[in-house]
Amino acid sequence: MNPSVRFAVSVLVGVTVGIVSARYMTTEQSPFFTHQYGNWNNWPVAGNPSNNPYTQAKFIANGQLPEHFSEVLTFYRNQDDGGDKLTEDCTYLMSVDRPTARRWSISLTGNAGGTPQVLTQNDVMSMGEKVTVLLSASPQPGNWLRMSNADDPRVVFRLYDGDTITAQGTGSGALGLPSLTRVSCS
């Protein structure tokens, strides 16, 4: 092969691999800088001035200023407990022991944009210590988050007073992260 062609191919392959790998390492699915709690992901050093360039890049590339982890712990997932990707064709049941944090929220977002659907500690109805929320494109009884216009739906669980929460332990059991099971699909 002609050396100039080899050069061009090498540069093309190298630049492509470099950029794709960089973009992958700043996604929520990146296993390198996220903490995994079951199917929940968390960027543990968000907002820290000494955080690594990947964590910084993840947030600022989207124009976001991450809340310091001592203020809010934010967890993301785009899969159900069975490991399948969330889809608006299905109904899901989210279940969690009522969080001890003074504020918390569950929201549903998607790549389609728009204001996320949000339920906070003030919005949910629950008879006991268990909070259940149905995620579905069609109206559901009780606590409901509407899955519509959601391309690649993503559930976000936020616990305020992050430093208090982490002082109680950071295992997934100690954090009390919700389960998310698929109920049915159309």
Partner: protein, 185 residues
């Protein structure tokens, strides 16, 4: 032949590493700077702005359904910044960021001394006594907090609870009575 292949393989790997590092170190910060420039053009410097829908500032509001956002882009090259904060009697958090998105300082409703206080931001000064004197000259008191930012430019973001209409109204009222300006003005 083998050494030629090894050379090109190594060249490809090194190119990939260089592209990877360049992307991580420069592209996101450049994208963010472009966003800050847009907010700056719309709102100006050293001025608190409510991030209401339709404004450039709203683009930093990641959770608009549960929080009200206000931000102030600052430049300390001409002197310290003063934030006169009036905060609602509910959850709020104030964070000072550098222009790369790193947190410099954070304060929330459970840590603040009062519902009304002043925050003074100074760039690093080699002479600590000068900083103390400057703080005193602009009226430092028990209700004021002094922060050394270590950078001349950055962003102050105030997030306040807005999960329902009552919280949103309280937040909006408090933030409208909060100011961000040069301490000398």
């Amino acid at each position: 032949m083998t050494s030629t292949r090894t050379f090109w393989a190594l060249f490809t790997v090194l190119t990939a590493i260089a592209a990877h590092l360049c992307y991580i170190l420069f592209v996101p910060s450049q994208q963010f700077q472009t966003k800050l420039d847009t907010i700056l053009a719309e709102n100006g410097i050293n001025k608190l702005t409510l991030a209401v829908p339709g404004t450039a500032a709203a683009s930093i509001a990641e959770y608009p359904g549960e929080l009200t956002y206000a931000l102030c882009l600052f430049d300390l090259s001409t002197g310290p910044l003063r934030i006169n904060a009036r905060v609602p009697d509910q959850y709020w958090a104030l964070e000072v960021y550098n222009t790369r998105g790193g947190t410099i300082y954070t304060l929330n409703d459970q840590q603040a001394p009062r519902k009304q206080f002043s925050l003074y931001l100074y760039d690093d000064d080699p002479d600590p006594e000068a900083i103390v004197n400057a703080a005193n000259s602009v009226g430092s008191s028990i209700n004021s907090i002094t922060i050394l930012t270590g950078t001349q430019t950055g962003i102050v973001v105030i997030r306040s609870a807005a999960a329902n209409r009552l919280e949103a109204a309280r937040s909006a009222e408090a933030l409208q009575n909060t100011s961000c300006s040069l301490a000398s003005s």
